[in-house]
Amino acid sequence: MNQTMHRYIDPHIHLTSRTANDLAAMRANGIVAVIEPAFWLGQPRTSAGTFRDYFSSLVGWEHFRAGQFGIRHYCAIGLNSKEANDERLAEEVMELLPQFIHKENVVAIGEIGYDDMTPAEEKYFRLQLELARKHELLVMVHTPHRNKLKGTLRSMALCLEHGLEPERVIIDHNNEETVPHTLQQGFWAAFTIYPKTKMSNERMVEIVRRYGSRQIIVDSSADWGLSDPLAVPKTAALMRLRGIPEADVQAVCYGNALVAYGQAGNFRESDWLGPCTVDQREFFAGNTVLRGQEPLVAVLAEGALPESACLIE
């Protein structure tokens, strides 16, 4: 990999809905680590088994798949706000959570919070905040896209009510209205760069210009909708173009995510900076250490994937 290339973390992306092409492009553009929070799949699930298999994919197949492209994959596990509204199912999912929250690549409970701000959503939001407090886990909070300011303020109030430290909670999908409150209360303020419906690149530049980089994190939340898995590196590029100091760019596109989620203990720079030498057979970035082939990224730069990489039947 080009030594002077910038490194990025995308701490909120739904890789389950993204293709291998996206993964290749992400890696080629400097994304070294991602966090994939548990969410819904576009329409309501109807049985707990599908949640179990989905959580299983976050700690198994998605983790492996991203690894084939040299991207270290982490995840958050939780019952999302939309599906919390099916209370019968929600009860079953709550039973499943302890079976996944301690897995190797799980860094937080998430993404949880409010969607419409119903009593059911609040009930399971609170129960999961309790789970996070009990097991000393970080929390990734999804703030509603409607009634956002009220929802964000209420989300933060609940976190504090349940005894969570603000620096151990990441409030996502902030905007110009919510950010002063999120920052002032000591929470991490993440912003989702998602065309049209959430934050835009240009607006993000101005937020950093105004507030600096402290406590601010940029992510893509790229999913099956019209979204961009390269949102983080593109935002960084725009910031540089618009004269944002380099230290701030690196903080919001890499360093702050590392500090925030690094508190989990299993989200470490050493995971992606050097090759893993513990097990010679480890399969990462499309080749084994033993086979000693050309690094995948070098080949990606030439525009072709090596034949033996990412073989899927």
Binding site: G60, F64, H102, K103, E104, V278, D279, R281, E282
Partner: protein, 247 residues
């Protein structure tokens, strides 16, 4: 009850405890010791499942660094067992799983099933690696065949390579699928235990077909393929394969 399998589990447990603990600091040793004793007392699937997960935080990971004497000892305890690539976390997880080995199959098999179902990628690798030393060997056949179907190459390797279990337990069809997948993934066939013993003419035919497919696509044919298929091919087939290998 398979007496041989039971004694293998005991002997493996003893071996793993010795070769693992020497790599652990006091905190890790205390955790492992305490957890194994708790499991022996409580017999609890929930405690096992949680310990299996949290072991990743408690056990510092490094290769077991087994000497050739120790590897020979492993073979004596469990013929065909090749833990040379195992790390401390995999060994610790195997110890945790073996802690409940005295349970009857109607309890033990669902317990392991539960672990397989919710396992992370590293967890699956540890479980499939441990198959040769688990009690009730016949119970894991379906799982092993499923492991071969995995899209996660690390998992396929854990089943197929340096593992005596598939050659002993898989049906001919399932074993053949494993070899074919290994060829497809460019894995080292020499590391498939019992391959020479279990190779058969159906497998040879499948491999020859696959070689023809690769040749037609002008793609590399696995260099170890002729050795596996050869003994079952006719002279004419062998000549054809030879020509294709030479490109």
């Amino acid at each position: 009850m398979d007496i041989r399998a039971v004694s293998r589990s005991v002997l493996a447990h003893e071996f793993l405890e010795f070769v693992t603990v020497r790599h652990l600091d006091l905190a890790a040793t205390a955790w492992l010791d305490g957890t194994l004793r708790l499991l022996a007392r409580e017999d609890s699937p929930t405690i096992l499942a949680q310990a299996f997960d949290t072991a990743a935080r408690r056990i510092p990971v490094c290769n077991l660094e087994l000497s050739s004497t120790e590897l020979a000892d492993a073979q004596r305890r469990r013929p065909g067992w090749q833990p040379q690539h195992w790390n401390t976390l995999q060994a610790a997880r195997t110890l945790l799983v073996l802690a409940l080995r005295h349970q009857p199959p109607e309890m033990y098999v669902p317990l392991l099933d539960g672990l397989f179902t919710t396992a992370s990628e590293p967890g699956l690798v540890a479980l499939y690696q441990s198959l040769p030393v688990l009690p009730y060997p016949a119970a894991w056949e379906r799982r092993a065949a499923e492991g071969v179907r995995s899209n996660m190459t690390s998992v396929v390797r854990a089943v197929a390579l340096a593992n005596p279990y598939p050659a002993e337990a898989l049906s001919e069809g399932a074993f053949n699928q494993m070899v074919l997948k290994a060829v497809f993934l460019d894995l080292p066939l020499a590391e498939i235990s019992g391959l020479a013993r279990r190779a058969n003419s159906t497998l040879a035919d499948m491999l020859l077909d696959f070689a023809r497919e690769r040749f037609a696509a002008r793609r590399r044919i696995h260099p170890e393929l002729p050795e596996v298929a050869g003994p079952f091919l006719s002279e004419e087939q062998k000549r054809q394969l030879d020509r294709m290998m030479k490109g």
